[in-house]
Symmetry: C2
Amino acid sequence: MKRLLRTLSGQAVWPPPVWLMRQAGRYLPEYRAVRAGVKDFVALCTTPALAAEVTLQPIRRYGFDAAILFSDILMLPWALGHGLEFKEGEGPVLPKLRNAADVAALDPARVADRVAPIMETVRLVRAGLLAEGFGETALIGFAGAPFTVACYMVEGGGSKDFAAVRGMAYAQPALFQRLMDVLTLASIEYLSAQVVAGAEVLMLFDSWAGVLSPSLFRRHCVAPATQIVAALRQRHPNVPVIGFPRLAGVMTREYAATRVDGVGVDTGSDIGAVAAMLPSRMAVQGNLDPLAVVAGGTAMTAEVAGILSAMRGRPFIFNLGHGIVPQTPPEHVAALLELVRAG
Amino acid sequence: MKRLLRTLSGQAVWPPPVWLMRQAGRYLPEYRAVRAGVKDFVALCTTPALAAEVTLQPIRRYGFDAAILFSDILMLPWALGHGLEFKEGEGPVLPKLRNAADVAALDPARVADRVAPIMETVRLVRAGLLAEGFGETALIGFAGAPFTVACYMVEGGGSKDFAAVRGMAYAQPALFQRLMDVLTLASIEYLSAQVVAGAEVLMLFDSWAGVLSPSLFRRHCVAPATQIVAALRQRHPNVPVIGFPRLAGVMTREYAATRVDGVGVDTGSDIGAVAAMLPSRMAVQGNLDPLAVVAGGTAMTAEVAGILSAMRGRPFIFNLGHGIVPQTPPEHVAALLELVRAG
């Protein structure tokens, strides 16, 4: 069994498997070369040959233990018929979902067709890994968790405080729950299709879970993740799921109820303290500060040593606590891999 | 002894004392009327009659258990000679601190003169509270914690990810430590002067503590707060300090080492879970979601009930988990006060 899969089955594999969030990205010159040739980010995500190519680039360079499908968490609302545009230097821009009609306009029936190119990417990557001799590298598929996707749909993009989406959750609970239900069911189908196409692990990114009050966290982070994990486990009992309730802090303890196989930990948390809140066979993934990789040298070495020493003897996946940043020197990533593989 | 002070001395006063972060602010028509008549935000903070007036406005309307000096956490770097401008709709804009010369240019010797109007505001508010019959309302002085102030100085304003300041902390640790030391010592003098002018409680806002990795959190949030609390306690043994390491999550346990008298809890944390991490006589303050106050009605009632029931029997100060937002209907604040005072 591949090292990542063994870890997610509850074994303390050592040295730990390692991959990095956004490992396919702008810090790599070969990525920038591909990106320069396409019109926009959505086009890159829906052109299987290119999306597969950039997914494989960091594997060729570093031999990570996992490849993660190159895509975006907003491709699912896009497939549901919600608009999506990536503006240079501004991030994603979406129409602002406001009322029942906007929710009713989302069309789950069209998703399968629209995500067909993404499934083709999954197939190409899986075949590419084998063809290029990366038989030990596991392929991770993913989706944004319903709340985080709802954040972008209601706010119309990123936000400093996500006031509109939280306001809707408090003031229009029935409407917001309907939106969450649509996204939860669509996520199950979307993730399941990725498994059928070849994904061996699934990851659920709840990047904005941390802005939820405890009661809303239970209702809109823990409950939908629980439903998604249960449905996927029934259909694909051998495909583990990693949940990443970013910035959940002390609420991470309650996230264990989702029964995910692994929990992502963000940069701001002591990973040992988070691990102590979770069942001992639930894998933990994280949480090096991406800025420590930018700095490299002794700062990075010290941070890595701290994480490894806290996680030794536990099912653990080495990763960052947030996506790698564009200004990261690629040679620092190589040095990081050496540190992790020395255990 | 005033209810807030009794709570901060370790007593479980019930119903709990209550005040709200940013209680003097744009949601109040009487605040907007004053604000309309001044050139800019810095002018408002440095005009004692006006700053005192807006500090007292919410006390007159709601009879909160505490008034908090109307000022801004960036007035200290401004007093140190670092530039500061508030641009409409953009938030604060500062020169970007980059090197040793920028740190050397900060001039602690000029602080006392420049903050003199702020001390005059403290005196006016203290006298005003007495003159207007609010003898039970305690006056809170405050400062930004060194790391949060450094965030704005290095980033040149707010930031999505505070990459520049974290980058400096990793890559130029000696330079960053020098900046932190300057800010720590200046904060001690600044807070101490507020006590001399009449502040009865001090609060240290570490709004961006949550972006720090655990090792940086220990070095740049816990250590400076510990130093500030120790110095203030020596000079003013009867003036309690509330620390607010926002978004600290599981790291809040380590914040207890600062020996603050109270800990602010943000919106995203289960307040009972955070309280359980802290010594039982250390007061806890928080953490209603400001968006629940915007919604009002049953959503707000349920959230308040949850917090009160978790905190009953513990030294507790009812507050929000983040500043009140401008779109809050003032009558919802009145309803909130009724709920809290019914215990």
